[in-house]
Amino acid sequence: MIGEILHPRIMMLNSAPASKEALLNDMAQLLEQQGYVQDKKAYLEAVYERETLGSTYIGHGVAIPHGKSPAVTKTGVAFARMAEGLDYDGQGELAHLIFMIAAPAESDNEHLKVLAMLARKLMHESNRCRLMEAACGLGVIKVFEEEKE
């Protein structure tokens, strides 16, 4: 299940965007190209609407922009890793790991469970370290596949 939602095809392991806007645009484009989103513009609108409620930068170098929209055809999580980091919300703290969630208007419970599990695992420093070090997309997925300690 995690392999359907988080796929190497929607990952950018060496991302160096010029801005937050460029980053979100690149990730949304990837989601569109790979068939998770049918209308990038409408999806990005949902993402930005969520950002206006409060930044999705969650500390610890992690941001999780997300949009729930009918423009999403299937649940997907795009991943971008930035060695240099990006000042995601202009507060001076650098984000290195970005998980961009695309959720359809009606999500089924199975997918919600995976997203909840992913969110929980991101809170463990050991997992964040492994994400920074993963050599390939499969390595990223592996962090989320293992049983909770």
Partner: protein, 103 residues
């Protein structure tokens, strides 16, 4: 120290669960007993029972919306913070909870 908590946020996709996990990790690291009920996209999970609430020294609401079943906590010391606080600064949230009952 026994703490029970509720986490909830409007979208309920991720923040609810990150806050829950971070409170658990941080409280356990202090040797506290902790149970967190999540009120997220999948409804109420890990629901707190009346006896667990009764036994708790302090209650933490890490929420950006109204708590479901808030009347269950009547009479308990309650610390209310935003869900992001529990994700970014769980240690400070626990300090505040401790301070609430040390008063």
């Amino acid at each position: 120290m026994k703490v029970v908590a509720i986490t909830a946020c409007p979208t309920g996709i991720a923040h609810t669960y990150m806050a829950a996990e971070n409170l658990q990790i941080t409280a356990k690291a202090r040797g506290w007993s902790v149970k967190v009920e999540t009120q997220g996209s999948m409804g109420r999970e890990n629901q707190l029972t009346a006896s667990e609430i009764q036994a708790a020294d302090v209650v933490i609401f890490a929420v950006d919306m109204a708590v479901e079943g808030e009347s269950r906590f009547k009479g308990k010391p309650i610390l209310k913070v935003g869900v992001a606080e529990a994700i970014k600064r769980a240690a400070q949230v626990l300090d505040q909870a401790q301070a609430l009952i040390d008063k």
